[in-house]
């Protein structure tokens, strides 16, 4: 079960992908409001986006991306039913991936 939500929509000759990931994105500089202890850095460092199994975009992030990250991108071509795969890896070595089909 993955917590990545993906929407991929074909409009004309362009596909727009929107996705939401579930992640705390702690930058290691915030303190717990009760314990006053620093919350250790825990954030997504890499996101790889694939269309029909081919990597189209690689992203690298710092802890400066907001909690529960939103990512949207566009590409030309694509057909209804083509699989879009989004996979992330964080600084603690955890990873997640999800796949969705392009819709019209």
């Amino acid at each position: 079960m993955s917590d990545i939500k993906i929407r991929a929509k074909l409009e004309g000759d362009e596909t727009t992908v929107k996705c939401l990931m579930s992640h705390p994105m702690d930058n290691g500089m915030r303190k717990d409001s009760k314990t006053k202890e620093v919350i250790p850095a825990h954030f997504i460092q890499e996101v790889v986006c694939k269309v029909k199994g081919t990597v189209v975009m690689k992203t690298a992030w710092s802890g400066g991306v907001s909690k529960n990250p939103y990512l949207s991108f566009k590409f030309k071509g694509g057909a209804v039913g083509d699989p879009i795969e989004i996979a992330w890896t964080d600084n603690m070595g955890e990873s997640q991936s999800a796949t969705a089909e392009i819709r019209d």
Binding site: M25, A60, G64, S66, F73
Partner: protein, 154 residues
């Protein structure tokens, strides 16, 4: 009593061992992540570390969509798009954040449209800078965002 303490100590050192182990293993899992650039505390170091240079030509062909005033610096929506040709990457910088470089998007496939949209944290009122690599040239543009409540510390 002594034995109980000894047990605790053993457990403690095992846990510590696990943490150290994870630390040693970690870099292998994401060797591509550019620590020098993303942990840099100034823009020239971040840009040079990521893109090989900190000089970029200002271009109004880069459009940055972000709010004029962000009430909550923890979630500032930013969209960058450009009609420049041959774009291979877009990077987003929040000029006054502790680590200014927020995200870099590398377009691996020529089918990619030079467009990205995400949400970033901003510590205080500052320029959001977008750096676009097109061919061998770096271009940039900036948009000021007024931040009412900072979204990085606390």
């Amino acid at each position: 009593m002594i034995d109980a303490k000894r047990r605790t100590l053993v457990k403690g050192s095992l846990a510590a061992g696990a943490v150290v182990g994870a630390g040693l293993m970690a870099p292998r899992a994401f060797a591509d992540w550019n620590a020098a650039a993303f942990q840099a505390t100034d823009i020239p170091t971040a840009m040079t570390g990521l893109l090989g240079s900190d000089s970029a030509e200002v271009s109004d062909r880069i459009k940055i969509k972000a709010p004029d005033i962000a009430e909550n610096g923890a979630v500032v929506p930013v969209t960058v798009e450009t009609d420049l040709e041959g774009v291979t990457s877009i990077s987003i910088i929040a000029a006054k954040n502790h680590s200014p470089l927020i995200a870099s998007f590398e377009f691996v496939d020529p089918s990619m449209v030079p467009f990205v949209s995400t949400r970033i944290k901003m510590a205080e009122t500052a320029d959001v800078i977008a750096v676009v690599k097109a061919g061998d040239t770096l271009y940039k543009n900036a948009k000021n965002v007024k931040v009412t409540i900072g979204g990085c510390g606390g």
